[in-house]
């Protein structure tokens, strides 16, 4: 059976209905455990209690990027293979991704106040996140603005495509423009070198939680969108008949 079978809304609704409870349960469990565990970790000798923010900040930041990636893939699938579910999934992911970006930005800002002595610094990391947030806003606004759903899917797909390229370019441009204060990616560095396991394990759990949460939200929202489309199609047909 090909994976494209799930591009059929009925099959998708059925299959997602089966896995959804598990994902929701996992998401709730991991998020709660990760965040509570993170909240209970001991203070860092340098950053004090503020390390606890990392358990929100990093997973949110990662999911913010991953959500955009997922939207890009889904848009491509729609543009090439014209499966409605993937277009709707891209639409469903955008608000979740935007919220994740917002959380990363806000927790970062709050963290920056004690660490760097400023709420906001035009550091490349932060700046490129701000730009990413703008892309999310534009994408959502375009979906909202276009009435015809298929046209909206096409146009937002194109925007996502071009936008991804330019978001990527912005990332490098911003790096070039200002060398920042933000720490590099520590997770890619050998474990223990920068982050002790006291923080690492709860961070992993929290990241898994955010991932599952994102998945659950996107699935539910996609189901919502499918039902809305179905109802709108039925009503339109009824009106016209």
């Amino acid at each position: 059976m090909s994976i494209w079978e799930y591009a059929n809304p009925v099959k998708f609704l059925r299959a997602s209905g089966i896995v959804l409870p598990w994902i929701v349960a996992g998401a709730a469990l991991c998020t709660v455990v990760g965040l509570v565990w993170g909240f209970l970790t001991p203070d860092d000798y340098r950053q004090g209690a503020t390390v606890k923010i990392v358990f929100l900040h990093v997973p949110a930041a990662l999911m913010a990027i991953n959500a955009w990636m997922m939207m890009l893939v889904a848009s491509l699938v729609w543009l090439i293979r014209r499966h409605h579910v993937s277009a709707l999934a891209a639409k469903a992911a955008a608000p979740v991704g935007a919220v994740m970006t917002l959380i990363a930005l806000i927790t970062g800002a709050i963290w920056g106040q004690p660490m760097w002595g400023t709420w906001w610094e035009w550091d490349p990391r932060l700046t490129s996140f701000l730009v990413l947030f703008l892309f999310y806003l534009g994408y959502i606004a375009l979906w909202e603005a276009i009435e015809d759903p298929d046209s909206a899917a096409d146009l937002t797909g194109l925007l996502c495509l071009v936008g991804s390229v330019f978001a990527f370019l912005s990332r490098y441009a911003v790096n070039f423009w200002n060398q920042g204060l933000h720490q590099g990616a520590s997770l890619s560095v050998a474990p223990g070198e920068r982050m002790s396991s006291v923080y690492r394990y709860p961070l992993y759990v929290s990241m898994l939680g955010f991932f599952l949460l994102f998945l659950a939200l996107v699935l539910i929202r996609t189901r919502t969108e499918i039902r809305r489309r179905r109802l709108a199609a039925l009503l339109a047909r009824e009106h016209r008949a």
Binding site: T50, L56, P114, R221, E225, L235
Partner: protein, 47 residues
């Protein structure tokens, strides 16, 4: 109770705002889903 020291407001506000945002998106998602499901069911029952 755990000791947050001088960073109490920082940490608590970070957690607070993030949780509010997460709960908001979750609630919005669930509500919209319930509404869409109900509307479709109503339509189906109507015929």
């Amino acid at each position: 109770m755990i000791e947050l020291g001088k960073y109490a407001t920082t940490v608590l506000s970070a957690y607070g705002i993030s949780l509010v945002l997460l709960v908001a998106i979750v609630l919005q998602t669930v509500r919209a889903n319930a509404r869409a499901r109900r509307a479709l069911e109503e339509y189906d029952n109507r015929g």
